[in-house]
């Protein structure tokens, strides 16, 4: 059983999104995703300043099993990346929702958040997989 915090929003490609107090978004991958990947060994994160569209491939996560693309949940500009993951990629496995965050976005259109899944909908999706 995986952990799916109720206050976050989710994508069908297993990213989670947290809206911060200042309106920026923090993005990572879910507990369900990190379990499926097994030990994470390397991440290719975007450069700060990069502008992306919703669902655009933005990062790559490599685990012992395979490489997987990570997609931006909404359109916006990358304002910060989690450099700590370069040294400790296994943090994605041990703490996917906090220290395992990937990058922060300044969203270009806050309305795009409404299209994301609630925790309940995401959990349902995982059960159906």
């Amino acid at each position: 059983m995986s952990n799916t915090p109720a206050e976050l929003r989710y994508t069908e490609s297993h990213e989670w999104v947290r809206t911060e107090a200042d309106g920026t978004l923090t993005v990572g991958i879910t507990d369900h995703a990190q379990q499926a990947l097994d030990d994470v060994v390397f991440l290719e994160l975007p450069e700060a300043g990069r502008v992306v569209d919703a669902k655009e491939s933005i990062a790559v996560i490599e685990s012992v099993k395979a490489a997987s693309d990570i997609y931006s949940p909404v359109g916006g500009e990358v304002i910060e990346i989690n450099r700590q993951l370069e040294d400790d990629p296994e943090t994605v496995n041990s703490d996917p929702y906090n220290d395992g965050w990937f990058f922060k976005l300044q969203p270009s259109d806050p309305a795009e958040l409404d299209a994301l899944l609630s925790a309940g909908d995401y959990q349902q999706l995982c059960e159906e997989e």
């Binding site: 097994d38 030990d39 060994v41 390397f42 290719e44 490599e62 012992v64 370069e86």
Partner: protein, 360 residues
């Protein structure tokens, strides 16, 4: 329907992540393959390798049968229990399987083959026995389980777990085996560490596994098995060689024994007619990323291909074995195509870690 080894229930009860491997439902890890890998390099870990197949070969004609069957020459095995690693070739010189043969006597041998090729291997061997009219019989031993205990503390923990086994196995040299009651204890392995591979009756498998665990041997799955063998530069059949590839091109020329010119073996003529056109070397990625199998390698001497790749837990770098043009040498700088990008790699000998020490 995937097959189950005698330890299947044990793995499931331990919460192992199970995967289909060569038609067997096997543990890929019990939580973290990286931790399992480190346990083998630093202490002791164990693998259920019961999916592989043990065979007994017996009879007056068994030695001459083997000398004609495989590319390495069993005539050089004279000490009881001594083993060799060999390729079994098809008439075109391609590798049918890689295997280990143990000499018990001139008329008794133990052979261990891979799980995915077992049926093919047995059919091939039985066919050749019949064709040649050899005075020898081959017996499939699916009544045996196999547990590989590997690591610097593997032997001492095995002795602690199996009281009485030390006297029978303490004097074993690497690549040598001895019988202890119902057990066959071989000082062999697929990790680059010291240790034993135990062959035992299936009904003792679960109890033996528990005893080893109680002695502090960590259960390890196929994920760690692959990262360990790749660090040790050991070939994986199906990746690093197959029926279309000569051992000479697969970095396995050292397993082909041409020294007795009077000895003919299947594939010999093909090997003599076609010398090596490729070599196997190791790659270490200098840029950040992960090397995997079937990535194109660009060298000054032409293009090659990775045959196996992984992120090495011991070295904390991406490593690979690659089949490359002749002329490429350790120390050379090459490029690897990883998902459309050309990343820099350094060529090394295809042996990255042995006995816990980095060699590169």
């Amino acid at each position: 329907m995937p097959q189950h080894t005698p330890l299947h229930a044990t793995h499931v009860a331990a919460g192992a992540r199970m995967v289909d491997f060569a038609g067997w439902d096997m543990p890929v890890n019990y939580g973290s393959q990286i931790e399992e890998h480190h346990a083998v390099r630093r202490d002791a870990g164990m693998f259920d390798v019961s999916h592989m197949l043990a065979l007994d070969l017996a009879g007056a004609g068994s030695k001459s049968f083997l000398r004609g069957l495989i590319a390495n020459d069993v005539a050089k095995l004279v000490e009881p229990g001594k083993a060799l690693y060999a390729c079994m070739l098809n008439p075109d010189g391609g590798v049918i399987d890689d295997l280990i043969v143990y000499y018990l006597s001139d008329t008794a041998w133990r052979i261990v083959v891979n799980a995915g090729t077992a049926d093919k291997d047995v059919a091939w061997m039985q066919g050749r026995l019949a064709e040649g009219g050899f005075d020898a019989t081959l017996t499939v031993r699916r009544d045996l389980a196999m547990i590989a205990v590997q690591g610097p503390n593997a032997r001492s923990k095995t002795w602690a777990a199996l009281p009485g086994s030390e006297a029978a196995s303490a004097a074993l040299k690497p690549f040598q085996a001895a019988t202890w009651g119902d057990f066959f204890i071989a000082r062999t392995g697929y990790t680059g560490e010291d240790g034993f591979e135990l062959t035992l009756p299936v009904d003792q498998a679960a109890a033996t596994w528990s005893a080893l665990a109680a002695a502090g041997v960590k259960p390890c799955g196929l994920g760690a098995r692959d990262t360990l063998r790749l660090e040790a530069g050991m070939a994986l059949y199906g990746n690093d060689m197959d029926e279309s590839i000569s051992p000479l091109d697969a970095g396995l020329a050292w397993t082909v024994d041409f020294s007795d010119t009077a000895r003919d073996f299947v594939g010999k003529a093909a090997l003599l007619a076609k010398p090596a056109s490729r070599q196997v070397l190791g790659l270490v990625l200098e840029d950040k990323g992960v090397l995997r199998a079937h990535q194109a390698v660009f060298t000054a001497q032409g293009e090659g291909e990775t045959t196996s790749g992984t992120f090495s837990p011991t070295l904390e770098k991406a490593i690979a074995m690659a089949r490359l043009p002749l002329g490429v040498a350790p120390g050379d700088s090459v490029e690897v195509d990883i998902r459309g990008k050309r990343l820099k790699a350094r060529v090394v000998k295809a042996s990255f870690v042995r006995k816990g020490q980095a060699l590169i």
